[in-house]
Symmetry: C2
Subunit: 244 residues, 2 copies
């Protein structure tokens, strides 16, 4: 079933590389529910035999799935242990999104529209779900951002963390993961803008006031006001940092 | 700099596996802009020497990046060719999103809220951006759904494809990828609901009418009406298929 192409790469009759055959097999079983978190993949030798690929192709596929957070190899588990399906950690999703945005696959104005849609949902939910602990963490971040003389990088880190905390407080984990991944993917573009913006003190003051407004609306449990303030903040911050 | 752990895995002093050291090196350079689309990675031997890892660790890392669509290996390019940074294809992100949603066991009501937020954004954009080709494909899907005697699986496939086509017509690729990943990850739960719902003919008729209303609003370029119709459709379809 396998041929070796001019570059020495093992390929299936379908034209897929051998390790891609293994990836497709695993993906399909996850998507239709036959494999779920905690299930174990067949042993390397068995999978190679079933899919008619080499054992090294199976190993390559497992390494890829591992790097994506889809599976974890049980260390020292012996022949019966093997490779277990894990819930993709949201960090893996965030990494791929960051790379996408960095490689300019998504124009930043497109990212902005999706951010508005997801963050307004998140703050609406946060207004009704935020715990006292979430609110305390948000307020501590605001206080750090309000310190005089805070540098632009630290300001941006707190700004990112504030938005991620809002998403966490929403209680909706899918909204949280998407929102956090997008906001984190924008950390460096936003930091670049902060570094080059002319009137930094004015920009920082406007951002502080916006964050306070969002925070007070969430603390008051006012979902509509929080959503409006969030949309205005994201759009006006965007205009401020792209104004130069 | 490298030790080999009990399971025979090469690890750096930081505790990262050797291939993860290479991944981090590449990620950091993409994120800070030192590597961009079209740039070539150092040769395998050079990268192994610089990062003090084995050449097989470099190969593993390159395979992983390749599977993620971050790099492409130039086939038969010889020693001077090597591995080039590419714009991550959205397929790679879509795949990881689908796996994430399928494995993370997000409660379906949470997925519903995120769907409403993203699909209302997508149809708003589709109302102003859909091309005649997009509209023709959507209408063909609606006509298939309106055939008498269509079975539930085919109906669901067309339903999924209609929503994915709306997201494509939006012109915002990030919104499209998120929307499509969520809708595709719901294909099987929705099909399960279709299979067990009692009054199938009534459900199918209500869904057909909803899709027509959304389609006509998008075709008329009425973003507000399309957004309202989409939110009502997603929420009422949810009530219909969970009513039993």
């Amino acid at each position: 079933m396998l041929v070796t192409d001019g570059a020495g790469t093992e390929r299936a009759a379908s034209g897929l590389k051998a390790y891609e055959v293994v990836l497709e097999w695993v993906d399909a079983r996850i998507l239709d529910g036959r494999l779920s978190v905690g299930d174990t993949l067949p042993a390397e030798r068995e999978l190679a035999r079933m899919l008619e690929v080499s054992r090294s192709a199976v190993r390559e596929a497992v390494r890829t799935l591992e790097a994506q957070g889809v599976v974890r190899s049980a260390v020292g588990a012996g022949a019966a242990g093997g490779t277990m399906i894990t819930a993709v950690p949201s960090g893996a999703l965030g990494r791929l999104l960051r790379l996408h945005v960095a490689l300019a696959n998504f124009p930043l104005p497109d990212v902005l529209e999706v951010r508005v849609a997801l963050e307004t949902l998140s703050v609406r939910l946060a207004a009704t779900h935020a715990s006292p602990e979430h609110l305390a963490e948000m307020e501590a971040l605001l206080e750090t951002m309000e310190e005089s003389g805070i540098d632009r990088e630290r300001f941006n880190d707190c700004d990112t963390a504030f938005h991620v905390m809002l998403a966490r407080a929403a209680g909706n984990h899918l909204a949280r993961d998407f929102t956090a991944a997008i906001r984190e993917s924008m950390r460096l573009p936003i930091l670049d803008a902060f570094r080059t913006v002319g009137a930094w003190d004015e920009v920082a003051d406007a951002l502080r006031a916006d964050h306070r407004t969002i925070f007070e609306a969430v603390r008051a449990g006012d979902a509509d006001r929080a959503a409006v303030a969030t949309e205005e903040h994201i759009r006006s911050a965007w205009r401020l940092i792209t104004a130069d």
